[in-house]
């Protein structure tokens, strides 16, 4: 059960990253940015291309530097890319509807979401792609010298110019010693060296995500509470007209909010796809919805609320089906986990629409 709890927390951290974007944008322009899931997806795709094509993880540096570096670049690309897309989207699609009715703005957001999703399908194809798993290559030795290989053992060709391509990687033997017969086969096939691949375990991914959240939370707190831009953001979300009269450049503040929200979501995107092993244009829809639900649960407009809501939803999504399965014997409980998230949303909206950490707002007659 501890396993499920940790999984839930890690998933919750990912939701929290995405929920932050929703909550910041809602706080500042009272818009539910449906397209936020697509910023997340875009970041995930950029990360994918970095991890798969740039080959940073194969740099001849001491382990674990190549993996760390690879991920750092992927995360940066994802965050910056998602942030840029967010700023562009805001400028093109949301600024014209800032003065329109709430329905118009929300519909526009839904449309932007669909347009981005389907553009991604046209450009990258609808099929899911395997997300490069974090892995470690260790050169175990020349084929002749190696006597045993009782871990994953993969060999890969080294081409004449020294580059290594993954296409030529073949799993040789898992848990088997490399005996003479096998050595013959391998040499005949052209293999020369033996490498060991160790997959970074689930525990590492989970730990990474939680650690990242723990690092980012104070950074965001600092940004929002102590910097000038942070104060400007809070001013605009409190009273836009007053902020404008005080000389704050609303457009810049809003652009920054979108950027920051998507920047953080980009981190979530890479983490999510690395955890689940695949990325596709429709990746953004469901996690996006759930992150939004998380933001509502925690109190939309509240940054700590987004974090709390994310962790709560992630844990609930993991533990409630577990409890249902173990406690009530409902085998298929996990298939319904998405419905559980939506049901939680409705429950919160009916009983405490301002969320766990939100404040009630009254209408003046």
């Amino acid at each position: 059960m501890l396993d499920y709890l940790l999984n839930g927390l890690a998933l919750g951290a990912i939701f929290a990253f995405i929920a932050l974007g929703y909550t910041m944008v809602y706080g500042i322009i009272k818009l539910i940015n449906f397209a936020h899931g697509e910023f997340f997806m875009f970041g995930a795709f950029l990360g994918f291309f970095v991890l798969r094509d740039l080959g940073i993880d194969r740099l001849p540096l001491p382990q674990p530097l190549p993996i760390l570096l690879s991920y750092l670049v992927a995360l940066s690309a994802a965050s910056l890319g998602a942030g840029t897309l967010a700023v562009v989207t805001e400028r093109v699609a949301y600024r014209p509807v800032r003065r329109a009715s709430r329905i118009a703005a929300l519909i526009t957001a839904v449309c932007v979401s669909l347009i981005l999703q389907n553009l991604a399908v046209k450009v990258w194809g609808a099929a899911p792609r395997a997300y490069p798993q974090p892995r470690e290559w260790t050169d175990v030795g020349a084929l002749d010298g190696t006597a045993e290989a009782n871990l994953y053992a993969l060999t890969r060709f080294e081409t004449t110019d020294g580059t290594v391509t993954e296409n030529e990687v073949r799993v040789v033997a898992v848990g088997e010693p490399i005996d003479d017969a096998m050595r013959e086969r391998l040499r005949a096939a052209g293999h020369e060296r033996v490498y060991r691949q160790v997959q970074v375990g689930r525990g590492w991914t989970r730990g990474f995500v939680l650690l990242a959240l723990a690092l980012w939370a104070p950074v965001l707190w600092f940004l929002v509470k102590r910097t000038r831009m942070g104060k400007a953001m809070r001013a605009v979300s409190g009273d836009t007209d007053a902020a404008r009269l005080m000389g704050i450049d609303i457009n810049r503040v809003i652009a920054w909010t979108f950027f920051l929200g998507a920047f953080v979501a980009g981190v979530g995107g890479v983490a999510y796809c690395a955890s689940y092993g695949k990325v596709e244009p429709l990746t953004g829809f469901l996690p996006g919805m759930k992150a939004f639900i998380a933001a509502v649960i925690g109190g939309i407009g509240s940054i700590p609320g987004a974090i709390v809501g994310g962790l709560v939803l992630g844990t609930a999504e993991s533990l409630i089906p577990y409890a249902l399965r173990e406690g009530l014997g409902w085998e298929a409980a996990f298939a319904w986990k998405d419905a559980i998230a939506f049901a939680l949303l409705i429950v919160i909206l009916v009983f405490k629409p301002t969320g766990i950490l939100g404040k009630a707002v009254r209408e003046k007659v």
Partner: protein, 309 residues
């Protein structure tokens, strides 16, 4: 020649079904002012309800089974409307939108995860042909028959909505939609008005679902996804939220465009998925009142006649 006829018959049936969906959504969003993004859930409830009922009463004579399944579809959808309406109608604006969106998704997920022998689950389910046998030879008469039934249903729904809106309960609903606080203070029970409108809308969506299930002969959860909801929304925005004739016109434009594009080569047809949200976004930004605004074709005709007289 015959395949052209089949194409257009199919298109018109589609227009009819989407008109029902649009008119019922229009009642909830346009007239009652409730921001509802879960209409596809009611549509699915109706379709699956009708299917289940047909499977239960398949031994009865065709038309009896057909009609009773439609009634059951409407009842199930109306119950769904009550179930989601009563707790959520206190919510306003964005919150109601996402709550209803959540409901629509829950329905879809529920069907998708239901046991395969119950409602087909993610594989979909066949709907027995109770109205008439449908073979390639009888396709034209079948489509004509369905089209007539759908047309009657549309007419009935539109007349019902129109009469309702131009009566006392209807005016109360419009008052609640335009200023709920004032309406409450002037003796109108807002929850009652809204629930009534919501249930009416959901029942008609259920009817559309039943007709759809019988026409298609087979349904699966993917037929009722969120894209469909956005499509119905596009129809009412295009036609004008608050205009019943707008629903019919909008349904025709959207369904016809989609079907005609489907006949085009793949490269063009696949752009539809990007195109129609774009059209919706442009409409809502630049011409949110749609083609007819809140007026009906009759009003537009009258003012045109006056100007040219």
């Amino acid at each position: 020649m015959s395949s052209e006829l089949l194409f257009w018959l199919n298109l018109l049936v589609g227009v009819g079904i989407y008109t029902l969906l649009a008119a019922s959504l229009n009642l909830i969003n346009g007239s009652a002012g409730m921001f509802h993004l879960g209409h596809h859930g009611f549509w699915a409830l109706g379709a699956y309800g009708a299917t289940w009922m047909t499977l239960q009463v398949g031994s009865l004579p065709g038309p009896v089974a057909y009609v009773s399944s439609l009634i059951f579809a409407m009842a199930i959808a109306a119950l769904g409307g009550l179930a989601i309406g009563i707790p959520c109608l206190r919510l306003r604006g964005d919150y109601l939108a996402i709550a209803t969106l959540g409901f629509g998704e829950i329905v879809r997920i529920a069907v998708q995860n239901s046991p395969h022998d119950f409602l087909g689950g993610s594989l979909g389910i066949q709907v027995p042909r109770v109205l008439m046998k449908v073979t390639p030879k009888t396709l034209v008469p079948f489509r004509v028959l369905t089209l007539s039934i759908v047309a009657v249903a549309c007419a009935a729904a539109i007349v019902t909505f129109r009469n309702y809106l131009r009566s006392m309960p209807g005016r109360r609903l419009l008052a609640v939609a335009q200023d709920e606080t004032a309406a409450g203070l002037l003796g109108i029970n807002p929850t009652r008005s809204k629930v009534l409108a919501f249930v009416m809308g959901s029942a008609v969506a259920g009817l559309a679902g039943g007709l759809y299930a019988h026409y298609m002969g087979g349904i699966n959860p993917l037929n009722f996804n969120f894209m469909e909801m956005v499509k119905i929304f596009l129809i009412i925005v295009l036609g004008g939220m608050g205009s019943l004739s707008g629903c019919a016109v909008g349904a025709f434009l959207v369904v016809a465009t989609e079907q005609l594009l489907n006949r085009a080569p793949e490269a063009i047809a696949s752009w539809w998925q990007v195109l129609f949200p774009l059209i919706l976004a442009i409409m809502i930004i630049f011409r949110p009142q749609g083609i007819f605004g809140r007026r009906e074709i009759a009003d537009v005709w009258r003012s045109w006649r006056r100007r040219t007289a």
